[in-house]
Symmetry: C2
Subunit: 347 residues, 2 copies
């Protein structure tokens, strides 16, 4: 949460207790901005009105104003979004893990050594606690194993089938229903303003591409993630690409700016994440010569979604939170900033 935003929120909270109107403490400019938001069709209807929503809209207005001092040419309007915890939920575990567990269990008969070998043992024992202790690398090994040896075509069809049917055990909703309506609106709003929007996720690149294009409206080639190695097989004239059981690249932390450079070749001007794994991506955007916007999503709603931050194994938000405060980056407090969380909540 940026200091400015913190102060304004504090004002708004005290107002909701003791003020007759929540606009009384606003400056003239802020009131005019509110008028602009309400007089046009609202591009972010699922965001509560307030400083954060206003700052996003002001940013977009400023950098798209031709001839203005902060104008950004269209080619440089690159926006990068984390996926897990930023565009959809990530509890009780990253959703891709549930997919991978199902796959590892199905593959286990062909890998008898897995029952005594970590991290597979934990999966087969349904011992999530033990699995989590093995850290991100252990989790990614499970993910890699669940892809290995498959052709890309088979993998895509398998995941498509899963995403259309599998439900989150805590919410009893399809995983693909647990995307964040306010973030869908934000992606669409940026695209409408000629931003090229990318996903830059620690999750598996092929996993996300298999379903996210239609769900988020982001083309496959604008989806970047962690990857395993693959090889081309001519296969007597019916060529295929086979995934190998070897990590290629972990698109997390320092890996995110590296992946952005590799896949996009441009520094983003807008970056959004929710965890320490996104910190370097936000730093990278913050170093852009153009006016830039850094957004952290803070999971604060234990009723409608989940509440977690510094001490969570999934989506740890600790160093990133400190740096966001120090650097006055925007922080979306889900409980207070989001009118609606999931699309199915809309009337």
């Amino acid at each position: 949460m940026s200091m400015k935003y913190f102060l304004v929120t504090a004002v708004m909270i005290s107002c909701s207790i003791g003020c007759s109107s929540d606009t009384e403490n606003k400056t003239v400019t802020e009131k005019e901005d509110d008028k602009k938001i309400s007089s046009h069709s609202d591009p972010l209807p699922s965001w509560n009105d307030g400083e954060l929503k206003r700052s996003i809209i002001n940013y977009v207005a400023t950098i798209t104003k031709e001839g203005g001092p902060d104008f950004i040419p269209v080619a440089d309007r690159i926006a990068t979004f984390d996926n897990d915890g930023t565009l959809w939920s990530e509890q009780p575990l990253y959703f891709q893990l549930f997919y991978s567990f199902d796959q590892v269990k199905a593959m286990a008969p062909k890998h008898p050594d897995w029952k005594d070998k970590q991290p597979y043992k934990s999966v087969l024992d349904n011992n999530i606690g033990d699995l989590m202790k093995q850290g991100e690398k252990g989790l990614l090994q499970v993910v890699a194993a669940s892809h290995a040896g498959m052709t890309t075509d088979l993998f895509e069809s398998t995941i498509s089938q899963w995403i259309d049917t599998a439900k989150n055990p805590a919410k009893q909703k399809l995983y693909k229903e647990l995307v964040f309506q306010p973030m869908l609106e934000l992606v669409k709003y940026l695209q409408a303003n000629n931003f090229k929007v990318f996903i830059v996720s620690g999750g598996g690149i092929e996993f996300i591409r298999a379903w996210a294009e239609s769900v988020y409206g982001i083309p496959k080639d604008q989806i970047i993630g962690s990857s395993i190695k693959a090889k081309y097989d001519y296969n007597n004239g019916d060529p295929r690409i086979i995934k190998l059981p070897e990590l290629d690249f972990i698109d997390d932390k320092e890996g995110k700016p590296v992946a952005i450079q590799k896949y996009i070749g441009r520094k983003p001007v807008f970056a959004a994440g929710n965890s320490d794994g996104d910190l370097q991506m936000l730093q990278w955007a913050a170093s852009n010569k153009y006016k830039n916007f850094e957004l952290y999503v803070h999971h604060t709603d234990s009723t409608r979604e989940w509440a977690y931050d510094r001490k969570s194994h999934i989506g740890t938000f600790d160093k990133g939170w400190d740096e966001a405060i120090a650097k006055k980056w925007a922080i979306a407090d889900i409980k207070n900033d989001w009118k609606v969380i999931y699309p199915f909540e809309k009337k």
Copy 2:
């Protein structure tokens, strides 16, 4: 050269000697197609009229015809172009090598071991023959060394400066002037028909991105190439990405379909190359479920450009040529198919 195209060309060549009109041997459909080309503004003015030009235009018309049996949805209109020898010349050596030689020579004082160590020794001795004997891997090592330890920003500005001033020793033209006008028209024509056009090159990804966006009209994030590893450096809040002297990925031969899957996530429907290094990319496109188009550029003009194929070290066109003939892929014979080769030849 496809057999069909070969036969039509043979007819046209005999006609240019003995026939009163080069349209006499054409079918009614072909005559109608010619009329279509001439009655609309010609999208490929630097291509000579003939079977190849007609087949490109017919292909685009067919797959963009909504409701037609071969219609391709916009999201699947992926076109991939090789760069060296396909979009610009590549003789007497890949242009990036000339850049790398200049860099290696400039860096040599800091690397005294290079004067006895291949492949650097050959560069410092100006012994191109010896360098070529070390194959593509040796060349890529030189390229990697010329990038290593630089920040991406510095690399980009260095190459931008070079591309604006350095001249090809054989043609005495700026390298960036030696792009193929007919291919620029083809890229633009496909883009106008909602193809997403990518470069998939064996050359260095950062090298091409530094100049190709403005020259070809292809965005940086749609340029794929060979890469070296890189790391993120926080640098006390002024973050940068530093290139490392270690190969990451060679985007050639089997690497091209792998890179296409990794960066794009979709099989192309249109692929163009000029050498055996592009064969797997063309095979990959040819296996698309949608109607697809494979194009090889054959360097046959020793006067206006260069003539080379099976026995050339640069841009070897041997296995690819055989497979193109066997599979009836299109082959652009530069001497006969291209009215103009370079943009500066246009009146």
